[in-house]
């Protein structure tokens, strides 16, 4: 394991960077990034540490953002209330989906989560309050505890940062908890774990619910930041995206998902510029079109990651340092 001091220093540096970021980076963008980072971490808790590949996390992300959005926009709830409610909703949804999906293992689990999420997508599509393809618009940021006005980007930024850090800390703790140990054991050899008296399914379910809840937290926060919730959040492509984030960053590593999220979000927003840059560098005109072929690029990265770069960036670094990843 990496020495704890090294760890602490690293995290301290990162935290500092987070605190200073708005000075250099565009705050709204930064907030969005944080939300997705949290999303990815929550997802990784399941994939990286429990070995369950969920293809339906969009349901929790989007579900929570709709709930928060609805309560804040039409029911006049405050930001905190909204976020809490959204998170709880996601947890509940997670409990139900998990309860059903955990009946099957491995790839089946993935397919089931995918199918359930798709079902949820259709429900959202048809439900009146989501506004269908118009999305749920005009979610007010409101006042934090009636004191701090969140309409200021900076104020909101630090709230989001706090939320993200808290979420990240929780994931880190879960991984290194007695519970985490049992998860590892189950991932390794389920029948043995059972014969030692551990009800594997209940452990998986709890892990699933935790992951769902944190995902919800991310979703709710995002809605607050951007002021709306749309169908994209519940669409299966979003589930795919978060998988990619975790993959690029390195599954089963704590920081991997954060890095992955950063890369993907930047890519989504900047691909055009990247392409133009390439074009001017290489003089190959095709790159100019890059901005218009995000799916291709994402797909390509996906394939490359799976084939050549399975440890992901952070995983690779740790590996180079001869460190065993989770």
């Amino acid at each position: 394991m990496m020495s704890n001091r090294a760890n602490l220093i690293l995290y301290a540096v990162l935290l500092l960077a987070g605190l200073l970021a708005p000075l250099v980076v565009y705050p709204v963008f930064m907030m969005k990034l944080l939300c997705f980072a949290l999303f990815a971490c929550a997802f990784n808790l399941l994939l990286g540490y429990t070995g369950l590949l969920s293809f339906g996390h969009a349901a929790f992300f989007g579900g929570a953002s709709y709930v928060t959005g609805y309560l804040a926009a039409s029911q006049g709830w405050g930001p905190l209330g909204g976020i809490v409610a959204g998170t709880l909703f996601a947890a509940a949804l997670g409990a139900v989906m998990g309860w059903i999906a955990i009946r099957r293992q491995g790839i089946y689990f993935s397919m089931i989560t995918l199918a359930l999420a798709q079902m949820f997508y259709f429900l959202c599509l048809q439900a009146p309050f989501t506004g269908g393809e118009d999305g749920l618009q005009g979610v007010p940021r409101g006042q934090l505890l009636g004191l701090i006005d969140l309409s200021s980007d900076t104020a909101l930024y630090y709230l989001v940062l706090a939320v993200a850090v808290a979420g990240f800390a929780l994931v880190a703790r879960v991984v290194h908890s007695p519970f985490g140990q049992v998860l590892r054991a189950i991932k390794d050899n389920e029948p043995r774990a059972i014969s030692l008296g551990y009800p594997a399914d209940r452990f998986k379910l709890l892990a699933f619910v935790l992951s769902a809840a944190l995902t919800g937290l991310a979703g709710s926060t995002k809605t607050l930041v951007l002021g709306f919730a749309t169908l994209t959040d519940v669409y299966w492509a979003t589930s795919g995206l978060v998988i990619l984030m975790t993959l690029i960053g390195g599954m089963g590593t704590l920081l991997g998902p954060v890095v992955g999220a950063a890369i993907i979000v930047i890519l989504e927003n900047r691909l055009g510029n990247v392409g133009r840059a390439f074009a001017s560098l290489t003089g190959i005109d095709w790159f100019n079109g890059l901005g218009e072929s995000v799916t291709i690029v994402i797909g390509l990265i996906f394939v490359l990651c799976v084939l050549l770069f399975r440890r992901g960036i952070v995983g690779e670094i740790l590996h180079r340092r001869g460190v065993r990843t989770g």
Binding site: H176, P178, Q181, V182, R184, A185, A193, S195, L196, G197
Partner: protein, 257 residues
């Protein structure tokens, strides 16, 4: 005076048209090392699976300490203190040897669902874990990754883990299978040692092991109980020799001298 810890009453298990275990009644005395022997396919492993509820008996009932556990789930059975090992080794390859044993002990703390606590509170178990490892001579491999152990050592680790559960009743399915000879000796001694204050039900093909430590032996054949008694009685039983040991000359030598 008889004090049965585990009673199986007329349990049967059929697979499709095939009766793997056919109306077996078993009476395991507290404190005994009770061996279950029989030709391949006699139904030994299946019996284990029934007694630990990894399989549901088609008929019959099972009593543990007088309580009916026929309806329990494997986890419940385990929690009552009936711990089994498997015919094929069962360890957590991705964890270190120490972690393997510790995981067995961890349940005792009752914190396994505490995802908000630090795992450092498990280190209180390390001492006990090392003891257990010492018992099977794994102490100096404590921090190895289990995957890198040869087969025999994995079996030993499995037993150590099982012991950690402080089981009232241990079921060992061919604990010495695939072990080097010095391992066999060591494990036999180990079983004898841990049998104090415990009851052990084991499947074993190695006659030396059985003759050395078994207090009572039940011979299964084609799912039925063929004979029961102590080693002398059983090994001199002509039916048993016929069915199991083939001919007298190997009776005492067995498969694994």
């Amino acid at each position: 005076m008889s004090d049965p810890i585990l009673q199986a009453e007329h349990i049967s298990r059929r697979f499709g048209d095939f009766l793997a275990v056919d109306d077996v009644s078993l009476n395991v005395q507290r404190g005994h090392i009770h061996a279950l022997i029989g030709p391949n396919g006699a139904g030994k492993t299946t019996c284990f699976n029934l007694l630990t509820k990894f399989l549901a008996p088609t008929s019959g009932r099972i009593l543990f300490n007088g309580q009916d556990i026929t309806a329990d789930s494997p986890v419940q059975v385990a929690r009552r203190g009936v711990i089994r090992s498997f015919q094929i080794s069962a360890v957590f390859p991705g964890m270190t040897v120490l972690e393997n044993v510790r995981l067995g002990l961890q349940r005792g703390l009752g914190v396994s669902f505490h995802f908000w606590r630090s795992q450092s509170l498990l280190s209180q178990l390390d001492a006990r874990a090392m003891e257990l490892l010492a018992e099977v001579d794994l102490q100096d491999m404590a921090h190895e990754l289990t995957a890198n152990l040869p087969y025999g050592r994995k079996r030993a680790l499995e037993i150590a883990t099982t012991l950690g559960m402080e089981p009232e009743l241990m079921l060992l399915d061919e604990p010495t299978q695939g072990m080097g000879h010095e391992d066999v000796g060591r494990v036999t001694a180990l079983i004898k040692k841990v049998s104090r204050g415990r009851t052990i039900l084991m499947v074993e093909h190695n006659m030396n092991v059985i003759s050395a430590i078994a207090d009572r032996i039940t011979v299964l054949q084609q799912g039925k109980v063929l004979a029961e008694g102590d080693y002398a009685a059983v090994s001199s039983n002509p039916e048993v020799m016929q069915a199991y040991m083939g001919s007298a000359d190997v009776a005492l030598q067995g498969a694994h001298a």
